[in-house]
C-alpha cells in the first residue's frame, strides 16, 4: 500500500505530461492519438520493438541508478553524462583494440574498463568535494564538457576508424558484443540485477547506512564516526562507475562502437529517471523502460504521425516538472508528499 501511494505522484505526473505533450502536438497540427498509438504500438507490442525498448532502457536505467546512489549520499551528480561517455568510449576502445580474446574474458574486461573510466571521472569530483570543498554540481558540469571534448577529439583523431567520414571508433570485436538472452538484450537483466543489488545494499548493509547517513545529515554522520570524506569519494566512485557501466553497455550492447552523437543526453535522462523514482533504486526500472521505449519508437512516431521525436524530451521535462513540483500533491490531496532534499546549496 505504501509503495502504491509512493507511485501515485509519478503516475499522475506522467499522465499530465502526456496530456500536455498531446496538446502541443495538436497545436503543431498533428494528431496526438495517432502519435501515441504509434509510439506505444512500436515500443511495447512487437517483439522487435520490445527488444529495442529494453535495449534503450538499459543505459537509462543504469545511469538513473548512478544518480540515485549520489542522491542517497547527498551528492547531486549532474556529471553522469560525462562519466557515461568516458565509460562508453573506454569500453569501445577495449572492445576493438583487444583481438583474439575469448568472449568470456573480453566482454567482462571491456565492461570493467568502462566502469573504471566512469569511476575515474566521478572520483575527480568526489576528491575535489571531499578535500577542497568544491561543489560537485560545478565540477561535474565542467567535467561533462571536458570529457565530451576529449571524446570528440579521440573519436575523430587517434581512435578514429580508418576511412570513416564521421567521428567514430572502429566496430568492436564479436567477442565483446553483449549477447541476447531469449531474444532480449542481456544488459537489461544485468541492469535489473544491479538495481536490486543497490536496493539491497541500502536496505541491509552498514555501507548503505553510512551513505544514507552522510546524505541526510553530515554532522550526525561525523559524530557517529563515519568519515564523511571517505563516503563522499566512495559515493562518487560508485556513481561514476555505474554511469560508466551504462555507457559501456550502450557501446557494447546497443551501438557496437563509440560514436559521440549516439550518447547525447543519456546521463541527463538518468537525472530525470532518478528524480522520477524519488531516489529509490527499484523505482528506476519502470521509469527507464517507459523512456527507453519512447526513445526507441520516436522515429516510428515521426513516420506515422509526423511528430518530431523531440517531443519525447519535452514530455520527459514535463514529467520531471510535475514530479518534483508540489502541484500534484496539492491538487489530488495526497498525503505522501515527503520530498527528499537532494542538495544543500553551495555551502557544504
Amino acid at each position: 500500500m505504501k509503495t502504491l501511494k509512493g507511485a501515485a505522484t509519478p503516475l499522475i505526473a506522467i499522465i499530465i505530461a502526456f496530456t500536455v505533450g498531446g496538446l502541443l502536438m495538436f497545436i503543431q497540427g498533428a494528431n496526438p492519438l495517432t502519435a501515441y498509438q504509434s509510439l506505444f504500438y512500436n515500443a511495447f507490442t512487437t517483439s522487435d520493438g520490445i527488444a529495442k525498448s529494453l535495449g534503450k532502457a538499459t543505459p537509462l536505467m543504469i545511469s538513473g541508478l548512478a544518480v540515485t546512489v549520489g542522491i542517497r549520499a547527498g551528492l547531486f551528480n549532474i556529471g553522469a553524462q560525462g562519466q557515461l561517455i568516458a565509460g562508453a568510449l573506454a569500453s569501445a576502445w577495449a572492445g576493438y583494440r583487444f583481438t583474439d580474446l575469448p568472449f568470456i574474458i573480453h566482454l567482462p574486461l571491456a565492461l570493467l574498463i568502462g566502469i573504471l573510466f566512469g569511476s575515474l571521472v566521478g572520483a575527480i569530483a568526489g576528491l575535489l568535494k571531499a578535500y577542497r570543498g568544491v561543489h560537485e554540481v560545478i565540477t561535474t558540469i565542467m567535467l561533462n564538457s571536458i570529457v565530451l571534448q576529449l571524446a570528440e577529439y579521440l573519436s575523430n583523431g587517434p581512435l578514429k576508424e580508418e576511412g570513416s567520414i564521421i567521428a567514430r571508433t572502429p566496430a568492436i570485436e564479436e567477442s565483446a558484443v553483449i549477447p541476447d538472452l531469449f531474444g532480449l538484450p542481456l544488459g537489461f537483466f544485468l541492469g535489473i540485477a544491479l538495481a536490486a543489488i543497490v536496493w539491497w545494499i541500502f536496505k541491509n548493509t552498514t555501507t548503505g547506512f553510512s551513505f544514507e547517513t552522510v546524505g541526510r545529515n553530515k554532522s550526525a554522520a561525523w559524530y557517529s564516526g563515519i568519515s564523511v570524506k571517505k563516503i563522499t569519494v566512495a559515493a562518487m566512485l560508485v556513481s561514476g562507475g555505474l554511469a560508466g557501466l551504462g555507457g559501456a553497455i550502450e557501446s557494447l550492447g546497443v551501438i557496437g562502437r563509440f560514436e559521440p552523437a549516439f550518447n547525447a543526453g543519456l546521463g541527463f535522462d538518468g537525472i530525470t529517471i532518478a528524480l522520477l523514482a524519488r531516489a529509490n533504486p527499484l523505482g528506476v526500472i519502470p521509469g527507464a523502460i517507459l523512456f527507453g521505449g519512447m526513445r526507441g519508437a520516436g522515429p516510428n512516431m515521426q513516420f506515422d504521425a509526423g511528430v518530431s521525436p523531440d517531443i519525447v524530451d519535452l514530455i520527459l521535462a514535463l514529467v520531471l516538472f510535475f514530479v518534483t513540483a508540489p502541484l500534484i500533491a496539492r491538487w489530488f490531496k495526497l498525503r505522501n508528499t515527503e520530498q527528499r532534499s537532494v542538495t544543500s546549496g553551495w555551502g557544504n
Binding site: 502541443l24 547531486f76 549532474i78 575527480i124 575535489l128 577542497r132 570543498g133 568544491v134 554540481v137 560545478i138 565540477t139 558540469i141 565542467m142 567535467l143 564538457s145 571536458i146 571534448q149 576529449l150 570528440e152 577529439y153 583523431g157 541527463f268 537525472i271 530525470t272 528524480l275 518530431s308 523531440d310 517531443i311 524530451d313 519535452l314 514530455i315 520527459l316 521535462a317 514535463l318 520531471l320 516538472f321 518534483t324 513540483a325 508540489p326 502541484l327 520530498q339 532534499s341 537532494v342 542538495t343 544543500s344 546549496g345 553551495w346 555551502g347
Partner: protein
C-alpha cells in the same frame, strides 16, 4: 571591499603592462586578440549576472543555461518572423524573464529544492526549443555595429571597446550599473540582506518574497540580453543547443568572481583572453592545438581555480534555502 580594491588595482597595472608590452611588439595582432577576448568574454559575463543577482538575493540559479537558450530561441524567431530586430530583442528579454520567473515560482513560492528547480529550467528549455525549432528562418540582418564617434579613434582602446554592436555597450554599462546597484544603493543593500539573512531583512520591513521576485525578473532580463546578444548581434542564427554550455561556464565565473559583477566581468575577460590567445596561436601556426583542447580550456581552468580558491570563496549565506516566515 577596500582589500579587494587594492588587489584589483595591482592586477589592473599588471594587465596594462602586459598589453603595452605586446602592443609595442605587434599592435595589430594585440588589438585583434584583445577585441576577440572581449567578444568571447562579454556574453559569459552578462550571463554570470543572472547568477549573481539570483544568488545575492538567496536563490541558487543553475538554470542560466536554459534561460540563455530559451531567450535566444524566442529572440531569434520573433526577430525572424517579424523581420524586426527590436521585437527580437524584446522577445529575448521576455524569454529570459519567463525562465527566471518560473524559477521564482518553483524556488520561492513552492520552496522546491533549488538545484532541482534549476535543472528543470534547463531541461524544459532544451525540450521546448528543440520541439518548436523550425529550419529555414533567417533574420533580416544582424544588429549593426556602431563606432562611437571620437572614442573609436583612440588607438587600441577605440577598436577594442568602441566598435561594437549596441548590445555590447548596453551589456557593459549594465554590468557596471549592477555593481553600483548592488553595493551602493538601498535596493542593493536590501537585496544582499535578503540573500544573507532573510529573517533580519524581514523584521526590518523588507518583503523577502517580493524582492526575490523582482530580482529574479531583473536577472532574467540579463539572461534575455545575453540571448539577444548571442543570436541577434554576434551569430545571427539559432540552432538546437545554441547556448552550448555558456550558462554553465557563467555559473563558474560567478563563483570565480566571488558573486561580484566586476569580479565576474574580470573573470570572463580572463577566460575570453585565454580563448583568444589560443585561437591566435592556432591561426599563426605557432602551436597546433586541436580545437577540442581549446574548447575545454575554460572548463579545466575553472576546476583548477576553484580547487585552489576553495574555502576562500563564500556564497551568500541564504542561497539555496527557501524562506520560511517565522511564526510568532
Amino acid at each position: 571591499m577596500r582589500k579587494l580594491t587594492s588587489k584589483s588595482s595591482l592586477l589592473t597595472y599588471i594587465v596594462i603592462i602586459i598589453i603595452a608590452f605586446f602592443y609595442s611588439r605587434d599592435s595589430l595582432v594585440t588589438t585583434s586578440v584583445a577585441g576577440s577576448a572581449l567578444l568571447f568574454g562579454l556574453p559569459l559575463a552578462m550571463a554570470a549576472m543572472v547568477g549573481i543577482l539570483s544568488e545575492r538575493t538567496g536563490v541558487v540559479n543553475i538554470g542560466i543555461e536554459g534561460t540563455l537558450l530559451f531567450s535566444a530561441f524566442l529572440g531569434f524567431f520573433i526577430g525572424a518572423l517579424s523581420k524586426n530586430l527590436i521585437f527580437g530583442i524584446l522577445g529575448a528579454l521576455i524569454g529570459g524573464m519567463m525562465m527566471t520567473l518560473l524559477l521564482a515560482l518553483l524556488a520561492v513560492n513552492w520552496k522546491m529544492d533549488q538545484i532541482i528547480a534549476g535543472t528543470i529550467i534547463n531541461i524544459l528549455a532544451a525540450g521546448l526549443t528543440s520541439f518548436f525549432y523550425k529550419q529555414g528562418y533567417a533574420l533580416p540582418s544582424i544588429l549593426p555595429r556602431w563606432e562611437v564617434p571620437f572614442l573609436s579613434k583612440i588607438p587600441f582602446i577605440g577598436p577594442v571597446f568602441f566598435t561594437h554592436g549596441p548590445l555590447t555597450y548596453i551589456g557593459l554599462i549594465l554590468i557596471i550599473a549592477l555593481w553600483v546597484g548592488l553595493f551602493h544603493t538601498v535596493w542593493g543593500l536590501r537585496s544582499r540582506a535578503v540573500g544573507e539573512h532573510p529573517s533580519s531583512a524581514d523584521s526590518a520591513g523588507v518583503s523577502v518574497v517580493r524582492l526575490r521576485y523582482i530580482n529574479l525578473a531583473i536577472a532574467g532580463a540579463f539572461g534575455g540580453l545575453t540571448g539577444a546578444y548571442l543570436t541577434l548581434e554576434l551569430v545571427g542564427s539559432f540552432d538546437r543547443g545554441f547556448s552550448a554550455g555558456k550558462g554553465f561556464t557563467a555559473l563558474a565565473l560567478m563563483i570565480f568572481g566571488r558573486w561580484n559583477p566586476i569580479g565576474a566581468l574580470g573573470a570572463a575577460i580572463f577566460f575570453g583572453t585565454a580563448q583568444a590567445v589560443a585561437n591566435q596561436l592556432m591561426i599563426t601556426g605557432v602551436v597546433n592545438i586541436p580545437q577540442p583542447f581549446i574548447n575545454m580550456l575554460p572548463y579545466i581552468l575553472t576546476i583548477v581555480v576553484l580547487a585552489i580558491s576553495a574555502g576562500k570563496v563564500r556564497p551568500p549565506a541564504a542561497a539555496g534555502a527557501p524562506y520560511e516566515k517565522e511564526k510568532s
